[in-house]
């Protein structure tokens, strides 16, 4: 265990920090072979105020034998976008491993009777055997679809999430989907070509999944069909909130309290009917830009629905977002936003009064996926904490633009697609008071004696969105940073000299 006794960051000037961070990057790159060093150098930088992005390359394929933090396209589609749609059955199509290993790790909460009308925490796989690989799996898929219809008759639709072999053995899952859909009277069956080898990370999986919604849901809607609900001028859809630990619930209430009607949640606690209803929304509000900007842009283009990004982490960003969303509506909603902000101010004050003194000046390093590498920064700052390094697991340049323009401070260390070695070195040198990253990194840093929070799944806690989520976020960060155990890790005998006295001599 390394001894990280204090944070250095706060005692230095911006220029000093920048110089140190630059030097740190150079040091880290030194151990690589020249070619690798050149490649990785493009992903590491120190942010400079005023620049339009963070100056790093992103969304480039990882190096074999170097990184393992990223997922794959299947993870992006099944794990992120489609999996939380609760009333559809999502088949992990191919061998058993992919679905099994990721089963239940994302904590997408939902309301419903599991196994009857909701299926999120169940796991379905066609469990390919050798013969399916050799002779093709379409026949098995037909049988699987029939069985699901029989075992779970109340399902509202089925998606087929392709695993790697599907793309190699020439199965025609689209044809199977079409024919079975017809057979079941037009049932929604969505084939998704999210084989794991596609793209450089889960990111392409998001895109493929978005496209599947477009092609297999939206394009099948009857444009002249009667809407299934009475529209109002205040209908909005939440896009890109996966309801981790209840996030969407603690968000939705704020929208409702300001006078909006939430007609769909994409996709945490969401349903097929909600997906289908969304083209009637007046505004799509987009939390996770990375995973759902594609479908939002499509709806803007095709249905003329505007979309706006928002950020419900921490009171500053929440207030800013509520006002921004209200800006798309009339005064009634604008007043509603102000009323909501005012209503929660006492709670915000209480949380800050309690935790800010305990967290003021503490430094944080982040390395996460989706929107979090930038979105959570405000919440930390509301507590007086400072994010001194951040990076995206699978971000694109538009993510780094948003990060640079709205979030990070001058001299912040930026690391795209960072690998374990680099991240450990950065943490070792920057000595942050907290690291926020994923489960795969968690135990490395904890064992180094660095307080750590899983910032993908909120480490069994949450929600973190909305005002109530902020209270939980603050408590959790305090619990991590200020746990008494960090001071107790070192064995006394390491310094102890040899036996000093022998009894009774």
């Amino acid at each position: 265990m390394k001894d990280i006794s204090m944070s250095l960051a706060t005692t230095q000037s911006i220029a000093e920090i920048r110089a140190r961070n630059k030097q740190l990057i150079d040091e880290v790159l030194k151990v690589y072979p020249e070619k690798t060093a050149k490649r990785r150098a493009k992903h590491l930088n120190v942010h400079q105020s005023g620049k339009s992005d963070c100056g790093v390359k992103s969304n480039i394929k990882s190096i074999p034998g170097v990184m393992t933090i990223r997922g794959c396209a299947y993870a992006g589609s099944k794990g992120v976008v489609w999996g939380p749609i609760k009333d559809m059955v999502h088949i992990s199509h191919g061998p058993v491993g992919c679905g099994q290993y990721s089963w239940g790790s994302r904590r997408n909460y939902y309301v419903g009777t599991t196994g009857i009308d909701s299926f999120v925490t169940l796991q379905f796989t066609s469990d390919f055997q050798e013969k399916d690989i050799v002779f093709g799996g379409d026949k098995k898929l037909v049988k699987v679809l029939d069985e699901i219809q029989e075992l779970f008759p109340l399902n509202h639709g089925i998606t087929i999430q392709s695993e790697c072999p599907i793309g190699l053995i020439g199965d025609d899952i689209e044809a199977v989907s079409r024919s079975k859909s017809k057979e079941y009277g037009g049932k929604t069956i969505v084939p998704v070509r999210c084989e794991g080898f596609r793209g450089v990370s889960q990111s392409l999986g998001h895109h493929i999944a978005n496209d599947a919604v477009r092609d297999w849901i939206f394009d099948k809607l009857d444009p002249d069909g009667k809407p299934k609900f009475e529209p109002t001028p205040y209908d909005v859809a939440i896009i890109g909130d996966y309801n981790i630990g209840g996030d969407a619930w603690s968000s939705r209430i704020l929208l409702e309290e300001m006078g909006l009607r939430v007609i769909a949640q994409w996709s945490g606690d969401g349903s097929l009917a909600e997906l289908e209803a969304t083209p009637k929304a007046k505004l799509n509000i987009l939390h996770c830009y990375r995973s759902m900007n594609y479908i939002s842009r499509h709806m803007e283009e095709k249905f003329g629905i505007p979309w706006c990004e928002y950020n419900f982490f921490g009171p500053s960003k929440i207030a800013e977002s509520l006002r921004k969303i209200a800006g798309y509506f009339d005064d009634k909603i604008k007043e509603g936003a102000e009323r909501v902000i005012e209503k929660y101010q006492p709670l915000v004050n209480a949380v800050i009064a309690k935790y800010r003194p305990r967290l003021q000046g503490k430094t944080v390093m982040l390395y996460v996926g989706g929107l979090r590498p930038r979105h959570v920064i405000g919440a930390y700052e509301d507590l007086g904490m400072e994010v001194v390094g951040t990076g995206y697991e699978f971000g694109h340049n538009d993510d780094y633009q948003r990060t640079a323009q709205h979030y990070v401070k001058d001299s912040t260390l930026i690391y795209d697609d960072v690998n374990g070695y680099e991240f450990e070195r950065f943490v070792e040198k920057l000595q942050p008071d907290l690291v926020g990253s994923g489960i795969k990194e968690k135990y490395v840093f904890q064992k180094m004696g660095v307080p750590f929070r899983q910032m993908h799944s909120w480490d069994y806690s949450g929600p973190y969105h909305g005002y109530d989520g902020f209270a939980i976020f603050a408590r959790d960060m305090d619990m991590a940073v200020n746990s008494p155990i960090w001071k107790k890790m070192k064995a006394p005998w390491k310094e102890a000299s040899k036996a000093k006295l022998l009894a009774a001599e």
Binding site: G246, K488, W493, K500
Partner: protein, 466 residues
């Protein structure tokens, strides 16, 4: 620094405390070939015995002088004499340990004088140790009975320094408090032996109440430390006393024999065990064996794994002083708050408990404190189970009695390994409780109809800022 508060109620509702006589008798159960004898009406013994049997799920030796109405009027001499003779004739004990009870203490029986008379009258008893401890159950608590009994055993049975004053530095006396389980003692024995030390435990419940099946039956204890070994404890290099309650016995030992002692008030938790193995390393002149380096690593790792589950918990705990101090300190070091603490009797360790106030009280006090302080973890003996159910908070059983689960005698709290097991058990309780009772649902955010501006979340939010 905690202060001890005395109860204001006259009535004890759901008492926490076990009383002195069985605390004294318990100590004798850790001696080999012993027969503990309660001097009182047979109900005392019957009840006390039942309590031990339900806790350990073992046959337990305990005898009674069966004081009747007439005997009570006349004084207990005759019953005591008869009991000792019957035990002597029938079970051939190596030692009889006699504890008084409420009825004989109220009556004013002078047991020391009785014993002298009995010895005079029955020379065949000349070599049979008869250790008497005054343990009225209207004074003190279980821990006090144990403390007194062990001190008396040391006083009466340990031989003074011998002429040549020879000591064996590898021999160590261990005086464990009554809050340690047979499993704890075995763990400590293994640790000491790994340092090349040869420990003598007084009392040694591990030999007698560890839940094993012996090859043959005896009506007395089936294991424990022998009278001869006790006699020779003056030849040890050191005495290790565990728990504040054992200071007295350790001091008696030192006074009688000159053997120096070191008191470990706690042995649960990282720091206390660091001190403990460091001390063993010092007195043995051996480095800490790699086994314990590894166990220490496993413990710190367990602390990391569990800190977020235990951290921030508001603990309500009721136990005898040493156990209370030990467990609550460990959990405090894991980040828990000791919000409600109740104990049975006065002790020097109370002021070091990491809370404001420690109430000498009952389980009803604990329940009430836990309710008003919104505690979310309850620790006490098995009788706390209903309070926990009413409070709907997770419940960890610790202390005596634990009659409603198996394995009480094997529960560990000492050592790196024992602390690790304890931390996992408590953290897993908390995790299960969270899964079953505290998952967020949309209802937490759905405004209540009657209170338009107070949405359902309030309780949750307030909790985290409370």
């Amino acid at each position: 620094m905690a202060i001890a508060t005395l109860p204001t109620k006259a009535c004890a509702v759901n008492p926490l405390k076990m009383s002195q006589p069985i605390g004294g008798a318990f100590a004798f159960m850790g001696l080999s070939g012993a027969m503990p004898l309660l001097h009182g009406s047979q109900g005392c013994t019957s009840f006390g015995l039942t309590l031990f049997v339900r806790h350990f799920k073992e046959a337990v030796p305990l005898q009674t002088t069966a004081m009747s109405e007439v005997a009570t009027v006349l004084g207990g001499y005759e019953n005591l004499e008869q009991a000792i003779l019957n035990i002597y004739n029938r079970t051939k004990p190596k030692i009889i340990g006699i504890c008084s009870t409420g009825v004989t203490e109220t009556n004013g029986d002078d047991v020391d004088a009785y014993l002298k008379l009995i010895r005079d009258k029955h020379p065949q008893l000349a070599k049979l140790p008869l250790v008497y401890v005054s343990t009225p159950d209207f004074k003190g608590a279980f821990q006090d009975g144990w403390e007194k009994a062990v001190a008396s055993i040391v006083e009466l049975l340990v031989e003074g320094p011998n002429v040549n004053g020879l000591r064996d530095p590898s021999r160590v006396n261990v005086l464990p408090g009554c809050h340690l389980t047979p499993g704890d003692l075995d763990e400590l024995r293994a640790i000491l032996e790994d340092f090349g030390l040869r420990p003598s435990f007084l009392p040694d419940l591990a030999g007698s109440l560890d839940g094993h099946i012996p090859d043959d039956f005896t009506p007395t204890t089936i294991g424990g430390i022998g009278v001869d070994e006790i006699a020779s404890m003056g030849r040890a290099g050191w005495t290790i006393a565990i728990g504040g309650q054992m200071r007295r016995a350790a001091e008696v030992m030192q006074a009688r024999t000159g053997v120096p002692f070191r008191l470990f008030e706690r042995l649960c938790g990282l720091g206390p065990n660091d001190e403990f193995v460091t001390f063993l390393s010092e007195i043995s002149g051996r480095p800490v064996p790699s086994k314990y380096r590894r166990q220490r690593g496993q413990l710190t790792d367990a602390m990391l794994d569990a800190h977020f589950h235990i951290g921030g918990r508001k603990l309500a705990i009721a136990a005898e002083p040493d156990l209370l101090f030990d467990l609550s300190s460990m959990l405090h070091e894991m980040g828990a708050q000791v919000s409600a603490a109740v104990t049975t009797t006065q002790s020097a360790v109370i002021e070091r408990i990491k809370t404001k106030e420690v109430l000498i009280g009952d389980l009803e006090d604990l329940e009430e404190l836990a309710r008003t302080k919104h505690c979310d973890l309850l620790i006490t003996h098995s009788h706390g189970r209903q309070a926990a159910a009413r409070l709907k908070i997770p419940f960890y059983r610790a202390g005596f009695p634990m009659f409603d689960r198996l394995g009480a005698g094997h529960q560990l709290s000492v050592g790196y390994r024992g602390t690790r097991a304890l931390i996992f058990d408590i953290a897993n309780l908390v995790i299960a409780d969270r899964e079953e009772n505290h998952q967020p649902t949309p209802d937490r955010w759905r405004p209540l109809a009657a209170l338009p501006l107070t949405s359902g979340h309030r309780s949750a939010a307030e909790r985290s800022t409370a």
